[in-house]
Symmetry: C2
Subunit: 391 residues, 2 copies
């Protein structure tokens, strides 16, 4: 069986809806069919094997991928046919299956998918705060000017969990306009966009003038909001300086210095709950959530809405001791960053990692008004990947 | 030391911001201070011990709880003082601590918090579909009439993961109005409110007329939307019947009949990804996510946006075999519910549990138009708890 020639240069990587550029990757110089696999060699002498079932599953032809949505239509329900013919065409791979189906693969697209290879992402790894950590500052003008400034802002936010935007306009709803560069607002029981200021009938400590110890927002949700944006419009009251710390770094110190407390706080679910006339939002989770290999994924620390402790009697004293130990560690000055937000300045932070708080302020001495919203981490990462295509 | 009498009957349970009614609970008949604990006896002879640190942590006085937000102000950073005096007052508990602080506890509030006792929630447990499962139907008129209908709808949704609302108006945006009874819309890259119909330039298989195999939406998000609402405005095209199955029930059958496939699908993270000009949303997770004790928490199954399989070469064949086994189980007719949505009918389902799909339709034969949105499970549970206060 022979594979008919294509009329034009195949562009199977775009047919796969893949926006990563492959034009710098080397072409193929050899392809050999083996037992349920094909062995490939690229021009840089790199070699790899791909299972036939994998190749069949990833066929980019219009019958296997929807030509408009680029989504996979083929369902790999059968063991794949044998290969009837294979050849290289301008350095790319052409395959004819025993049933007559033809598949063409871009050499660069395959090169980036060599089995066992790790994925190259524009999203940076999280970096714990060093003791002298200071967040990146991006100018508002650079953020709105184009991909470069917004990329720098997103990279710092995703890497450090905290970033500042300076010298923005004193404009109502500017926080919403900035957030909507990235994605839709994440609405909660406090609305899609909230005002942080001292209010007459507060339903939340943030809406008073009291000091707020370091905490995360909404641990009583199964999925607390990821990224919080707080945009300062007015801040001439006495006090009210913002406080931040890296909860992941604090958790690592706890793991090193008080392993039993770390174990208790990561293995003991407790309740967080907010009730008012309209809402009753309750979730049970440990203070520290770990992934399968024990890395800290999320910190839930919020003493205001920590609900009644429901544990067997004999576990309570130990849990309180562990809580107290972590609470003190979180306050440690060496991992603490404080600043008085200036009007026109916005802070953004990862609410599941970085704890935030503020000093008390005197509402009689002046005004303090922040506008806030939440964003999904998924949207921040997506936006960074899309912007990185252009840089 | 004596505890000063209160001027009025204490209402410490409301001071705790607790909306659960405690007036049916028995009063206290005895309280005895022991070693770091207090032993209590209620009028029904039930006995329990509470640690002093727990009682101090839960003091409902206005210095320990914010009188307006009802949030906890006290941080349990010190070992508690000893008890200087305790007494019962109208069946409730009064405590004087050695430092002079006074705490008063409602007997019914304590009764519901006896250590080791499980929590009574209005939110029903999930119930797997039996083979003859048919979803509950609630009339639109009952849903909007008051707490009873909406409670029935929420209870069925949270218990079964699927519920129908019948005989609603053929009104644009009715799905948004119904959703906003419950909570704010969960916006995604497809917007806060989306139209499901055949479109000229689709970026998603749902926006074509092709058949859709059973799937979950947006497994490429770290947190896919919880609850999906689909409101039918027009449906006179040939075909297009909706299909549903209980993914948790299918996963349990997999666990029983093909444990190795269950293990592979629950332990092997794979990539899901959606890319277009504006978005690049990528998440790596297993098809089946389990909790700490092995219960299925979430199903991610979406063959269209399953990304290139990135696994070590030797794991690929096994993964495809497991995928195929689960795929076939999911299609099994005995756990499948099909219906042709009528105009004015809305289906709601738990997108992380119940898989949905549709038969192909012929867009030349008539119109098919659904309006959809997503809601957070947190908001559905909260709404049910609040409505249950009134019933």
């Amino acid at each position: 069986m022979t594979i008919p020639p294509t009329l034009e240069t195949p562009r199977p990587s775009l047919d796969m809806g893949d926006f990563t550029r492959h034009d710098e990757a080397p072409g193929l110089v050899d392809a050999t069919a083996g037992d349920h696999r094909i062995a490939l060699t690229w021009a840089d002498r790199r070699q790899a094997e791909f299972p036939l079932i994998w190749l069949r599953d990833h066929c980019p032809c219009p019958a296997c991928r929807h030509p408009l949505t680029h989504e996979r239509l083929h369902v790999p329900l059968e063991e794949p046919d044998e290969i009837a013919a294979l050849h290289l065409e301008a350095g790319n791979l052409g395959l004819a299956w025993a049933d007559g189906h033809i598949s063409r693969f871009d050499a660069g697209w395959l090169y980036r998918r060599i089995p066992g290879q790790s994925f190259e992402d524009s999203v940076p790894a999280r970096r714990p705060w060093a003791e002298d950590f200071r967040p990146a500052h991006i100018a508002h003008a650079d953020f709105v000017a184009g991909a470069q400034g917004e990329c720098a802002w997103l990279t710092a936010l995703l890497r450090d969990g905290l970033v500042l935007l300076d010298n923005g306009p004193l404009a109502d709803e500017e926080v919403r306009r900035l957030a909507e560069h990235i994605g839709p607002l994440r609405a909660t029981n406090f609305g899609a966009r909230f005002d942080v200021r001292s209010k007459p009938n507060p339903n939340n400590a943030a809406y008073t003038a009291i000091g707020l110890a370091l905490h995360t927002d909404l641990p009583n949700w199964r999925e607390p909001p990821d990224i919080q944006l707080l945009y300062c419009l007015e801040n001439d009251a006495l006090g009210g300086e913002s406080i931040f710390t890296d909860g992941f770094a604090a958790a690592e110190v706890l793991r090193q210095t008080a392993p039993e407390a770390f174990r208790l706080l990561s293995e003991t679910p407790i309740d967080f709950r907010f009730q008012d006339e309209e809402q009753d939002i309750l979730w049970r989770a440990p203070i520290l959530s770990l992934d399968d290999v024990g890395n800290v994924l999320e910190v839930r620390l919020n003493n205001w809405i920590r609900d009644s402790l429901r544990l067997p009697l004999e576990e309570m004293d130990g849990w309180y001791r562990a809580y107290r130990t972590f609470w003190r560690l979180v306050q440690a000055p060496e991992r603490r960053f404080e600043l008085a937000l200036s009007p026109g300045q916005m802070v953004a932070f990862d609410n599941r990692r970085v704890l935030h708080g503020r000093h008390a302020f005197d509402p009689e001495s002046g005004r303090r008004h922040l506008q806030g919203t939440y964003l999904d981490l998924d949207m921040c990462e997506s936006r960074l990947r899309v912007l990185a295509r252009k840089i």
